[in-house]
């Protein structure tokens, strides 16, 4: 091994490191280590003057290797490797020693922290002479983008990208795009009609030539890597030829199966087996429900739909179709589902009439809903009193621990709608804390107080139909402690609305797996960095937007969708993308062709070459996870930048004090 000249740069990180680690002592110690030519400390290495130290030493002192002892490499490794490159050194000849997250932040005793910092740094000094120069791999980028989920987040992201001239595939599981927002009546705090502001966007997405809409379709498999994803999408059979269907709904009127619970109305109304989910559906095409249609379930039917359909669009022989698409980036906008209040048995949801979920209330108050927008109880009478219970399933260790963010505001909106429709009706809001954090939200809260809504600070204990006094008889009774009074109250009401939190989709985990990223502990998609990369995932080229990441309101969702679109555009607008060269390679001379690594590779990046009888790494697909390196019985696959001898050298360095 040739004599190397190592430069050591130790960061104070203000007091983050220097408050615990004796930086001067570590610097003095480092200067005495083998191969170390220069050892310096600096208050903020990541600042421009700090980076200049590395560049100057390379140019003036002929430094051939460098190590920066500072924060986690996930934070600033790119910064310092770029600085090394600018100075004329191969970036991969610079290593990071993490003495902040791994040392100063997690060590109580200062002396112990200083000793540990030396060992962490020593490991890198010891391995550096073995580092090899590496060159980033440049791969071409497919300019198309896929957006998964056609709610407001997906629609917004797709429209933004389409406006830049990029081709967008918009994949939606349901027969129509629109998502939850299409079910709402009004939106807080401005009380815009949800349909009035959403349907123009839905319609624009349907007409946009750059958007290829794949409604009633699901992604089943994702292969490839940043800039080059291969996505398999199953287009579910509608049993209707969408090129012929005009959306006239005559089949719906003709269909004899009329009692299918209507998902769009939360089951509060019935639809036919041949259906269009709602009048403004995009695409406005009929679908035959394969679980309810008599013909499709093998029963006898005179098929009046076929007779009713002018353009002869109905096709009982249609099959699911699998297509494969190539895209450079993917935006996940798969949304949420409402937390089902059934397990919270004390609120009697599903047991007592007129105890309803928030989405059910949305439909009841909506002009296109099952009651034509009249807020009524099950018996058709308007309620004289309504209790709205906050935090159902939320802020609760037994269910969802987090605050769902939107429920306070939508509950206030409900109160307003009730007061607007039924001014004489008493409305009670039972809340723990009123969280009105957005623009215009606190003002809306104040407006509702002024409208005469009763605010009771307390989480409802139970809902029953047991009346103890004549004025409770025949009513629902909500028991709640008014914590500001210190008095337990019994509220006799005609309707109880349960303000459930937003929950991750039941299949969020398996969906995330298909796309190769993960979920947070609470089940929502995990962003790469909670503050600085909130719309990226750990998988390069896959972005997230909307409630699949965490509960959020419409303004935040739209803003995030724009950010995700910008992130995707910043990628696909380039002809090529550089990927890390720290990937594995297989020496064909040594490989026995046993196939073990081929099956284990989680990224399908190893293929078997039948002709040569050996396994080969597809460089662009390899993510550098190291599974093949660990799995091979003969130790043939090696990962660049993490060679066995480099790792052993690190271990020796860490132990060699």
């Amino acid at each position: 091994m040739a004599e190397e000249k190592i430069g050591v740069y130790i960061c104070h990180c203000g007091t983050n490191i220097a408050g615990k680690v004796d930086v001067e002592e570590v610097t003095r110690w480092a200067a005495e280590q083998p191969n170390v030519a220069v050892a310096r400390e600096y208050k903020y290495m990541c600042s421009d003057p700090g980076q200049d130290l590395i560049k100057q030493d390379i140019q003036e002192h002929g430094i051939t290797r460098a190590v920066v002892a500072a924060c986690s490499p996930t934070m600033h490794e790119p910064t310092f490797r770029k600085a090394a490159g600018d100075g004329g050194l191969n970036p991969y000849l610079l290593q990071m020693a993490n003495i902040r997250e791994h040392c100063s932040w997690v060590t109580i005793d200062g002396d112990a922290a200083t000793e540990k910092a030396k060992r962490i740094l020593g490991a890198q000094i010891h391995r550096l002479p073995l580092n090899l120069p590496l060159e980033p791999i440049e791969v071409p980028v497919n300019p198309n983008v896929m957006v998964v989920g056609g709610g407001i987040a997906g629609i917004e992201a797709a429209l933004k990208l389409a406006a830049t001239g990029k081709k967008v595939y918009l994949v939606e599981r349901d027969p129509s795009i629109g998502g939850h927002m299409a079910m709402f009546d009004k939106t807080f705090p401005t009380l815009d009609c949800a349909a009035c502001i959403l349907t123009p966007k839905m319609s624009a997405a349907g007409k946009e030539p750059n958007i290829e809409m794949l409604a009633y379709s699901e992604v089943t498999q994702v292969d490839g890597y940043v800039g080059n994803f291969k996505v398999k999408v199953t287009k579910k059979a509608r049993y209707v030829d969408i090129d012929k269907c005009t959306g006239c709904a005559l089949c719906t009127e003709a269909c004899v199966v009329r009692k299918v619970p209507n998902e769009f109305d939360q089951g509060l109304s019935k639809r036919a087996a041949a259906y269009i989910p709602f009048p403004q559906a995009v695409p406005l095409k009929a679908t035959l429900d394969p679980t309810r249609c008599l013909t499709l379930t093998g029963k006898k039917c005179k098929q009046p739909c076929v007779a009713a359909c002018g353009p002869a669009a109905i096709d009982f022989d249609q099959k699911d179709e699998e297509i494969e698409l190539e895209v450079g980036a993917i935006i996940m906008a798969t949304g949420f589902q409402l937390w089902d209040p059934t397990p919270e048995t004390r609120y009697s949801y599903g047991k007592l009439d007129n105890v309803i979920s928030s989405l059910e209330f949305e439909r009841i108050s909506n002009a296109s809903g099952p009651t034509g927008g009249h807020i009524v109880c099950k018996n058709g009478e308007p309620p004289k009193s309504v209790a709205i219970l906050h935090c159902v399933g939320s802020r609760d260790e037994n269910y969802q621990e987090f605050c769902s963010r939107v429920c306070c505001m939508y509950s206030l909106k409900f109160a307003h709608l009730i007061k607007e429709h039924l001014p004489e009706t008493e409305v009670y809001e039972c809340y723990i804390d009123m969280r009105t954090y957005g623009k215009g939200y606190e003002e809306f809260y104040k407006r509702l107080m002024d409208e005469g809504v009763h605010f009771i600070r307390g989480r409802a204990a139970e809902v029953s139909d047991v009346g103890l006094t004549p004025n409770e008889e025949g009513h629902l009774v909500v028991k709640v402690e008014d914590t500001l009074l210190g008095v337990t109250r019994r509220l006799p009401v005609d309707m109880v609305v349960l303000s459930s939190g937003l929950a991750p989709r039941a299949d969020a985990k398996s969906t995330a797996q298909i796309f190769g990223f993960g979920c947070s502990a609470n089940g929502f998609y995990l962003e790469r960095h909670p503050k600085l990369e909130p719309v990226s995932t750990v998988t390069d080229g896959i972005f997230i937007a909307g409630c699949c990441q965490y509960p959020k309101d419409i303004p935040d969702t739209v803003a995030q969708a724009g950010a995700a679109a910008a992130g995707a555009l910043a990628l696909v607008d380039n002809a090529t993308v550089k990927v890390e060269p720290t990937i594995s390679y297989i020496d064909p001379e040594k490989c026995s062709g046993c196939h073990i690594c081929v099956g284990l590779c989680p990224h399908a990046a190893i293929q078997y070459n039948e002709e040569k009888g050996v396994a080969e790494v597809i460089e662009a697909a390899c993510k550098g996870c190291g599974v093949c390196v660990a799995a091979c019985g003969s130790g043939v696959p090696q990962q660049r930048g993490y060679l066995d001898e480099q790792i052993f050298a690190e271990i020796e360095g860490a132990l060699a004090l």
């Binding site: 723990i432 804390d433 204990a461 008014d482 337990t488």
Partner: protein, 172 residues
Amino acid sequence: MPSGEKIKICQQCGTCTGSCPTSYLMDYGPREVIAAFRAGMIDKVVKSNTIWLCTSCYSCTVRCPANIKITDLMYELKRLAIKYDLLPKDSKNPAMTKYFIDNVSKYGRNHEVGLMAKFMLTKDWGMPFRFAGLGLKLFTAGRLPLAPKQIRGKEEIAKMSAYLDAQEAKAQ
């Protein structure tokens, strides 16, 4: 206080008090007990009737969104109150609790007639008159046997009880 570890994360939502069947009789509801505990005003609460009116129905514990073991906390506060003699004025509940435990230790189960007789004689002379009607009904239905019934395995219960006493003495 082992059951009190989590009171720091109580969000004062009032689910416990709202769920409590006897809170309407209490000087302070369970939520206020926790608030007082956190405010360093626990002596006030311990001297109140609250902890002695807890019927151990566990509704609060089951429903608490912070998983605070409120019923267990009530028990510990009762022990503290007895230990430091912080009883509410004219409180009869500690006596009732003590007679109940004596009864169970002796027979392995409660003997209602013996318990009530002792309690009435020492603490509440008026009680036989107020409850005469109910007592008679229970008696004629055979629910108030004069002679105590004993359980099998009384010795094992006694051993368990002695073990627990020893553990508690050790802990203190």
